[in-house]
């Protein structure tokens, strides 16, 4: 193989797109609540298991991976089930760990603690239910080199992940900027009280933000597990990375999360190759700190919808 630049770029963008998908969940919730949902990584993990078991359940028996339309269908089922599981998990989280506190007007710190508690509960429950070994997603298609671009080998799996992530990112961007729900979300993000006066149901909008973020994280979890296998602890590191991506781009800013995710993926990919793969995380966080020193609100600035 020749120059690995193209390869590293493609790998970085692929994992970065996943970070972006997860980061959107942080950003949406932050937008409406001005809170970091620290249990978001667990939503991602539960989505991965949801998708995995759904795919395994409908996978026809026999040797070899299915092909053609069956593969497309299976992947779609996995992604949809992952999204559904993530949405349900996020909904449950909002009901159990956030809403009761919101009703009582609890201080910020209480939300943080209750989210961490919910996170521990979720991953320990998952460890008990799904086992503490890594669990692979079954082969839903024959993975191999699909195309070669500038010396980079692009596998079928990479295409599936990147295409799905891209589609989701575009859909969310459209939803937030051009639909009625998006308008409500932006209104609540800007000024919750004022939005209420204008007839926006804030509770509903908050639930919508959680569900939307959960769906993205769940589907992202399934995509992530196709490459890295699922395990009950899988939510932690990608959760932190996505949080980093969200802050890097400007927390609360949808396009910022996408930019932050892609950038983080690229930095990790090249950094891991040029220095040492063990320094990957160090490089990622060094970049974050450097950016925040220069631009404390992130690259595109905080705030959903419009600049603060």
């Amino acid at each position: 193989m020749g120059d690995p630049v193209a390869q590293l770029a493609i790998d970085g963008l692929t994992v970065g797109a996943l970070y972006a998908v997860i980061a959107l969940g942080y950003t949406l919730v932050y937008g409406v609540l001005q809170l970091i949902n620290f249990a978001h990584g667990e939503v991602f993990m539960l989505g991965a298991f949801g998708g995995l078991y759904a795919a395994r359940g409908v996978l026809p028996g026999g040797d070899g991976a299915p092909g053609g339309l069956a593969s497309v269908g299976l992947v779609a089922i996995g992604i949809a089930a992952g999204g559904l599981a993530g949405a349900v998990a996020a909904l449950g989280l909002e009901r159990a760990a956030y809403r009761p506190l919101r009703r009582r007007g609890a201080p910020r710190l209480a939300y943080l603690i209750s989210a961490i508690g919910a996170s521990m509960f979720a991953f320990n429950l998952a460890g008990k239910e799904f086992g503490r070994q890594n669990v692979p997603v079954p082969d839903l298609f024959t993975n191999g080199t699909l195309l070669r671009v500038a010396g980079a080998e692009i596998s079928t799996q990479t295409v599936v992940i990147a295409a799905t992530a891209l589609a989701m990112l575009l859909a969310v961007d459209h939803l937030v900027s051009a639909t009625r729900l998006g308008q409500s979300i932006r209104a609540v993000a800007e000024d919750a009280e004022c939005a209420t006066l204008h007839g926006v149901d804030v509770d509903r909008v908050i639930v919508a933000a959680f569900v939307l973020g959960g769906m993205l994280a769940g589907a992202g979890g399934f995509l992530y597990a196709m490459t890295f296998n699922a395990s009950y602890t899988m939510g932690f590191v990608p959760g932190i990375k996505a949080f980093t991506a969200a802050v890097l781009g400007g927390i609360g800013n949808v396009r910022g999360a996408v930019l932050g995710g892609l950038l983080l993926g690229l930095v990790e990919s090249f950094g891991g190759y040029l220095l040492d793969a063990a320094y990957k995380d160090v490089i990622a966080f060094a970049v974050l700190i450097a950016v925040l020193l220069v631009r404390p609100t992130g690259l595109l600035g905080a705030r959903l919808g419009r600049a603060a």
Binding site: M1, P4, Q7, L8, D11, V15, G64, A65, R132, Q133, N134, V135, P136, P138, D139, N143, G144, T145, E153, S155, Q157, T227, F228, N229, S231, T233, M234, V237, E268, S269, F270, G272, Y273, D276, A277, A278, K280
Partner: protein, 392 residues
Amino acid sequence: MGAPSRRLRLLATTAAVAAVVAAAGCGGDGDDASGAKKAYAIGFQGPLSGENQQLGINAYNGMLTAVEAFNRSGAQPFTLRIVASDDQGVPEQGPTAAQKLIDVPDVIAVVGPVFSGPAKSSEPLYSQAGLLSVSPSATSPQLTDLGFTSFYRVISPDTVQGAAAADYLAKALKANRVFSLDDRSDYGVGLSASLEKALRDQGVTVVHDGLNPTKDYTSEATKIIAAGPDAVYYSGYYAEFALLVKALRGKGYDGEILAGDGSNDDQLIRQAGARTAEGVLLTCACGDANSDPRAASFVAEFKRVNSGVRPGTYSGEAYDATQAIISVLTRNGATATRTSVREGLRAVDIPGVTKRIKFDERGEVSDSTVYVYEIRDGQRVVLGPTSTLTKP
């Protein structure tokens, strides 16, 4: 009033909790009805949870097989029970897990630690307590050089495995360029160092890299492929190796992929996927009891005790380690102490299911055969000992 009575109540509560914990620790199946016989406990230390738990469970089941068979025979004036202590396979948990066993007075010896990292952190405690530990599987070479007085193992150190693997790479696979990657654990570093030294001695070009378990091997795979090796050898455990294999094959790497004993488990096939794992080679200073006719009765007994499960990697070794301890206890009868068992182990010479169990003065087992396994159609198949595979 107040303080003293409260302290008393606290004491009573503590005692009650301790009693409950102790009872729970014994397990439900201890029938104390016999009463007359002396009851010894043998400790077990290994990963019973965590992502590499399968190797610990394999070993535990092997130990259980030996203990159950012994208790059923009833020929001796004592009975045995197991006290298990989970170290999750990580060094930080080692001392706690070891102390738990040391604190149980009737634990007379320990089978374990299963992994090298926890062994290194636990052995100072065992040596200090004078409690014998016989590891079925901790292969880091330095373990017998650190002055531990109560450490024995029934598996060869990785100097032996590394040299045999190098031999196999150079002579049987005719590799000119090998990429050696370790997981930076005590086990991985020991194995990769031994392998690389032996490879260089054979005139093979070696590219070394160390990488803590990371899950994401995409950029590492790019790096490996860019280095253009004929073979990749991973010194680490199966949960990570499975992901490395996936990343390498996903990028179209078509050279040989090998790993050491820590990756030698069916979980590798499950986690990497049978198709992806096809053709992966594994080296291990352990034979496969399932395909060894001499171990047939062990396999049958193992399946009986463990509800049909086949022995896995280290099951036979743990069985042998337990048998070695039992043979000393048998000689001591009802008067065994931690000291007498520790000293008695030096004289053990029994035919085990994996090899002849006999130790040198450093605590190493004398037999040193290393086997090569290949994954074929989703199964681990023994190709044979390296000594025969490398014959021209």
